[in-house]
Symmetry: none
Subunit: 135 residues, 2 copies
DNA sequence: GATTTTTATACGCGAATCGCGTACTATGGA
DNA sequence: TCCATAGTACGCGATTCGCGTATAAAAATC
């Protein structure tokens, strides 16, 4: 069982622990225990969560990587806050959930400051300093 | 959890209860309890059986009908610097190439500062203290 | 047919742990 | 400041899990 996945699934729906627990019909502390690793869900709880999060028990238990039964790149645009299908990485190491949240906040702040670049456009200008790290 | 499925899976391999229990590394009476319904498997046991019988936990738990239905196993790790083929977005608007470069620089700077502020929060695996300075 | 081996089922008990209530801290808004 | 919400952690009662063991049926061996 992979702890981060539950948290990620819950946050992708913008649910609090209390909300999620209510939807599952269990106590908040119980569900919180699942996410923190203090408690492990029963078989029923696993199934309920798979239903609620619209994924599979195999994904929650860590047997498969893909939460959905569809290709990861079906969509061309991946919303960062909702990026369950892929792991993003920088310099080879995967971004943690917290880092992703920082990035989102960073982007928002940057846009807030009036740095409004064209949004739908892609200027494919390769930058040189990005490739300084070689594997 | 659907009782008959375990028995069918076991017999399709022509295994006895003892054989199956040995393969799973549990007591015969324990596994027999799963089939008879007297006992319910733990999360580990469910995963072990899914592996052994080459099916999914969802099938054993009765969430899907097809025992051979496995989700796509495409490991999707996107290196941000190389993700020209997919669009990332925040709040619905696509990140420009320049923004992505800023994000990469942001992440690198953040990691450079040493991310020891968080402890035991996200542990990918069992050891949470081991990977603070790996490569 | 009798004896031994294998298979399947069920019971009882000690140990493990599940789920809940509760308390605590941190954060943000009125 | 006060209050509400979010997240975390602890203790306890009750559930039940996993094992050994016993029993019965079936199969195999002689």
């Amino acid at each position: 069982m992979i702890l981060n996945r539950l948290t990620k699934l819950r946050k992708s729906n913008n649910w609090s622990l209390q909300e999620t627990a209510d939807l599952l019909g269990i106590a908040k502390s119980t569900y919180a225990g699942y996410e923190s690793g203090h408690r492990r869900p029963s078989l029923e709880a696993i199934k309920l969560m798979a239903d609620l999060f619209q994924t599979s028990t195999d994904y929650i238990l860590g047997r498969v990587e893909d939460p959905k039964f569809q290709p990861a790149f079906e969509k061309t645009a991946i919303e960062l806050a909702d990026c369950l299908f892929v792991d993003l990485s920088v310099d080879g190491s995967t971004l943690s959930q917290e880092e992703i949240e920082y990035v989102i906040a960073f982007i928002r702040a940057k846009r807030e400051l009036g740095q409004r670049k064209e949004q739908g456009k892609n200027s494919v200008g390769e930058s040189s300093y990005l490739n300084e790290k070689t594997n």
